[in-house]
Amino acid sequence: MPWRYALVRLVASVLTLAGVAVLVFVVLRLLPGDEITSTFGTETGVLTDRQIESLRSYYGVDQPAYQQFFSWLGSVVTGNLGFSVRSGTSVASQIRDALPVTVELALLSILVGVVIGVPLGVLSGARAGTRRDATIQVFGLLGLGVPNFVIGTFAVTLFASWFDYFPNARGYAAPWEDPWLNVQQMVFPAITLGLALSGTIMRTTRSAFLETSTQPFVRTARGKGISARRVRYVHILRNASIPIATITGIQFGYLLDGTVIVEQIFAMPGLGRLVLDGIGKREYAVVQSTILVISGLFVMVNLLVDLLYARLDPRIRYK
């Protein structure tokens, strides 16, 4: 009964998000400082008490915490997700601008990660213990180990100084405004994120591949005289695909977090930047709503991955 399963998962997801909402709200309030100290810095010290009082009401932090929570919750229900006093816009409109940037970046990164990671994993697993396997494994470790700000900064500096090429400096272009520029701006960030991802995917693919290749059906397939290539890419890979899909789904969640740094380096106005700036400026509504949206994406992707299992492996039944 996939529908019933989906419904149960949906309810669980909503509960998860409610938990996230409360947690983020509480943690934000525990952080020292507020929008006044973050705006005025040490100049806060020259403000009179009355000035501070009036600014507290301006920034809406004079209300008791529970009241702030429910008024924010109200804004989530009505869909405008709160108001950013600083920029004079609703948080929903800020997220509407930032979300496509991050989703496009994440999807492209996944693509890069899968395109590099899966074939390498198969090549590596097919000849486990050989020099080729070792080489690929080293690559995987490097992909995992080299922080993406190193790869990103390196790519930017290298291409700028050698080829005078840094498309991201032209200001972000959405795909519907300037598709060609958008592609250029996405390539390097996607590769930067995708490389790290490919390491993980490669290692998962390799071990899943190795495990699957010991299964009796593989021997049977070989015995039937099917070509080694077909066995590898159709029989084994298909059966090894569940862990690969799982890890890719989980990685999508981490990607939303990895984009924070990459969005900084490549000047992309995505969700990561929105959260980071929001935290720096103590814009509670912005941080709360954006994290809620990110969590929603994360939950949704995991749900989709779970539902995908049945496709990948017809033996799986949901109940």
Partner: protein, 563 residues
């Protein structure tokens, strides 16, 4: 099959090699990643009404600093609008790491906000490139004989971008808005000597002061005293729709991405040389430098010296000694630091040049308390002449009964790139004389909160400088200054000199008063003043741009694109 594998193996090997190369070469570039500088610590203004009731002395209509102004940025003043120049074209792209945060100029303190809004708003008085105060929206001004009335004569025919004309009613409304505590204006304390504002006619504003106040001129030249339209104030739109009289008209703000400004061809100084300005946000300074290098950004604001020194190629680097100063603030209310000779010992134990060389790659110069170009006094009055003298430091500690050494808690901010390195160099130097520093590296808001509460033994700090020494230090070093509790030191001498400097309107006499003030402060050395660095402006494809020690970008109004 075998062939395919072979081909892929080569690709993999190539990738692995590239990745190795990356990890080996990336080091120099990664240091600057992810630091969010230009946080809003300190900006314009000062404090307190250091009482000084010398009504009688200040002689007449001092144009205080106006003398220096005429030759600075104001040559174009008199061109007015009758010239009808051909509409300028082209857009200067300015790049910087942080996005603006506040659109209300009376509340803006972060550099990025101040520097953007300065292009949109005018002030009654203005600053030249040498920081001298000159005419702005007020063409001329004079103090009364007792210095307690400041009469300002406004420029005729000036219009807000919205089309309203600017007159004394707008000036009065703007000043009253700042004085109103409900506004939360940062410069209120600086102009609090204004008891009332009169507008005898449309082009005259009379400020009735509660006491003679020469440095108020500097405060009126600051963006935080921007002139807004009375209608906009009444309509409550000043925090969402900037409407000034400045050389550029506010266009669109795409949060986190850019601000676009268009030229105000009717500006009273004459039309800008370009059609507009786009201020683009590139959060990572290494990327920002790359953006200037490839010519996508014309003017980049760089704060991290470690990034700045890497500039090369087509990039023209402008280094202007900054007003902001790096210091080790000491809390004289805490433990051994209460003893002046212990504080002097710390000052003697620090090799300032080594701090500059190690933490900022030599990008800066040793400074005394005052960093303002017109008030430069050599830092030779510092303990041990400002030189490192570990033996003398130990002797002072011994004499103070602290020969065994002690431990200090030091707060270190994360909002500017060199802070942690500075702290570590100082830690090593003080370790040599037996003082153990416990460094607490703090996120900006946490640091600010601890700083405001004076909850530290010592603080590594980058405090912003001001254009007038009174503004700069009345808040810290007068006994009723509103940051005096944080500075934790005051003396009758400093109080008296500050009071004298406030009422003195003769520029030369002011310099000599602040020379005494600087000497007294150096002798007391409640903090360790270390150095001031540079304001970096990286240019590519722009000419006739004049940088300022304040970091202001106001001379973009004169800048043009290279053909």
């Amino acid at each position: 099959m075998a062939k395919r594998a072979h081909w892929l193996t080569r690709v993999v090997a190539l990738m692995a090699a590239l990745t190795l190369f990356v990890s080996a070469c990336g080091d120099d570039a990664d240091d600057q990643a992810a630091d969010d500088m230009s946080a809003p610590v300190e900006q314009p203004d000062d404090s307190s009404d250091a009482a000084a009731d010398d009504s009688g002395d200040s002689a007449a209509e001092s144009d205080d600093a106006a003398e220096g102004a005429s030759d600075s940025g104001d040559d174009s003043n008199d061109m007015e609008a009758d010239e009808a120049p051909a509409a300028p074209t082209g857009v200067i792209v300015v790049g910087r790491a942080a996005d603006i945060d506040v659109l209300d100029p009376h509340r803006a303190t972060a550099f990025q906000s101040v520097q953007a809004l300065e292009l949109v708003y005018d002030t009654l008085l203005s600053l030249g490139a040498d920081l001298s105060v000159g005419p702005g929206l007020a063409e001329s001004w004079e103090f009364s004989g007792d210095g307690r009335t400041l009469t300002m004569h406004l420029r005729d025919g000036v219009q807000f971008h919205s089309g309203d004309s600017f007159d004394s009613g707008d000036a009065a409304a703007s000043l009253n808005r700042i004085l109103d505590e409900e506004t939360g204006a940062v410069t209120r304390a600086n102009i609090a000597s204004i008891a009332s504002v009169d507008t005898p006619d449309a082009s005259t504003v009379v400020l009735n002061l509660s006491q003679a106040d020469a440095p108020i001129l500097a405060s009126l030249a600051d963006l935080n005293a921007a002139m807004m339209s009375a209608d906009a104030i009444a309509a409550g739109t000043v925090d969402t729709a900037p409407d000034g009289t400045g050389p550029f008209i506010w266009g669109e703000w795409q949060q986190g991405e850019s601000v676009t400004l268009t030229a105000n061809v009717d500006h009273w100084r004459g039309a800008p040389q370009v059609g507009g300005i786009e201020i683009r946000v590139l959060p990572d300074e290494a990327s920002l430098l790359a953006a200037v290098d490839v010519g996508e950004v014309n003017v980049a604001v760089i704060t991290d010296p470690l990034v700045a020194v890497q500039a090369g190629g087509d990039v023209e680097v402008l280094r202007t000694p900054a007003l902001a100063y790096h210091a080790l603030m000491m809390n004289s209310n805490r433990g051994p630091l209460a003893d002046q000779s212990v504080r002097h010992a710390i000052s003697c134990a620090i090799d300032r040049q080594e701090v500059i060389d190690s933490a900022a790659l030599g990008e800066g110069a040793v400074t005394g308390p005052i960093t303002i170009p017109a008030y430069q006094f050599p830092p030779d009055g510092l303990p041990c002449g400002g030189q490192q003298d570990a033996a003398e430091a130990r002797r002072l500690l011994e004499a103070a009964g602290q020969g065994a050494g002690f431990e200090l808690n030091v707060i270190v901010p994360m909002f500017y790139a060199s802070a942690v390195d500075e702290a570590q160099v100082i830690q090593a130097q003080l370790g040599d004389v037996g003082i153990v520093l416990d460094l607490e590296v703090l996120e900006t808001d946490v640091y600010v909160e601890r700083w405001l509460a004076a909850d530290f033994d010592a603080a590594v700090a980058l405090n912003s400088g001001k254009i007038d020494p009174h503004q700069m230090y009345v808040r810290y070093w007068t006994s009723d200054g509103n940051l005096n509790a944080i500075a934790s030191y005051s003396s009758d001498t400093l109080d008296e000199l500050m009071a004298a400097g406030r009422v003195e309107t003769d520029p030369a006499s002011r310099v000599s008063i602040y020379a005494d003030f600087s000497a007294a402060l150096q002798a007391a050395s409640p903090w360790v003043w270390i150095y001031n660095g540079f304001e970096y402006r990286m240019l590519n494809g722009v000419e006739n741009f004049t940088p300022m020690p304040t970091g202001s970008l106001q001379f973009l109004r004169e800048a043009s694109l290279v053909e």
